[in-house]
Amino acid sequence: MKKIALLTIAAIAAMFLSTALLADVQSLRGDELNNAAKKPANLKLVNIKGGIERSYKLQPPMVPHEVDKYEVNLKTNGCMKCHSEATYEKEKAPKVGDSHYEDRDGKVLKTVSSRRYFCNQCHAPQMGADPLVQNNFQGAK
């Protein structure tokens, strides 16, 4: 009996303590955990002249420009307006990597292989959002 009473008191104390603690805990974005989060900042895609350095070998290069006006679907691929083998020189844009012209058997195709067709599956545009935690990561040079 004594044991049960003690346990109950401990449980109640723990409950009070945790709610008191919870009120002080803040998320990285400054919201309190028991309140609804604030609306995220309205960020836009950024243009970075000269492109973005790779952070590691074989990283799919990130997209250093806005892409919201380009369509990539089964019928058409807006990225290829500038990055295709036929247009990259005129548009002074980097050409799609050679690996993207190979099918899965290593055969080199004339146009981009269907398995590499959807650019935005790997190549991400950037929002210019500051990292929430300080980060000293240095990319591979």
Binding site: K69, E71, L74, K75, T76, A86
Partner: protein, 190 residues
């Protein structure tokens, strides 16, 4: 001339002016009515295709709330050109009745051809309908994205200096208000 004859002549002139105003005004009002989005969609085959695509683009929804609808790009503003275009549209009505492109599949099969018709006429008119709103001399290149200002720069200066521009809007800006057709080759001249 007698007094009554004079009065009769005056009456005729007044009637003529009033009738003229009513007829001309009526004609223009009717013409304006045919220049609304809802009217276009009611006969031209596009409600489920290109009209849906337009709604995704900056010409439909944007920061400042200025919207370009069908006639802003596809019907000339000048009277003569406008009437010519309106007469051409009767061919499209004929095909509406035939049901030439009445399903998305039929539409897709014809899309490249249809798009090329529009590109050709825009090229021929030096992108006249684009330029009803967009003029090189009114552009602030510094406010454009770096890539845009780089590309516009030579043409901007040609326009400012009054030289013949080497390119017209549609040369580069294809597929900005509707999806590009399947099989579109960005390196080809259309």
């Amino acid at each position: 001339m007698s007094d009554s004859k004079k009065r009769g002549g005056l009456f005729l002139v007044v009637v003529g002016i009033v009738a003229g105003i009513i007829l001309w005004g009526g004609f223009n009002t009717a013409m304006e009515m045919t220049n609304t989005e809802t009217f276009c969609i009611s006969c031209h085959e596009m409600e489920n295709t290109v009209y849906q695509e337009l709604q995704e683009t900056i010409h439909f929804t944007n920061r400042t709330g200025v919207r370009a609808t069908c006639p802003d790009c596809h019907v000339p503003k000048e009277w003569i050109h406008k009437v010519v275009r309106k007469i051409q549209a009767s061919n499209e009505l004929y095909h509406k009745m035939l049901g030439t492109i009445d399903t998305p599949e039929k539409y897709e099969a014809k899309r490249l051809e249809l798009a090329q018709n529009v590109w050709r006429s825009m090229k021929k008119t030096d992108s006249r309908e684009c330029r009803n709103c967009h003029k090189f001399v009114s552009m602030d290149l510094d406010k454009q994205a770096p890539r845009s200002s780089e590309q516009h720069d030579p043409h901007y200066w040609d326009a400012v200096d009054g030289n013949e521009p080497k390119k017209t809007c549609i040369d580069c800006h294809k597929g900005i208000a509707h999806s590009l057709p399947e099989g579109f080759d960005p390196a080809a001249e259309y």
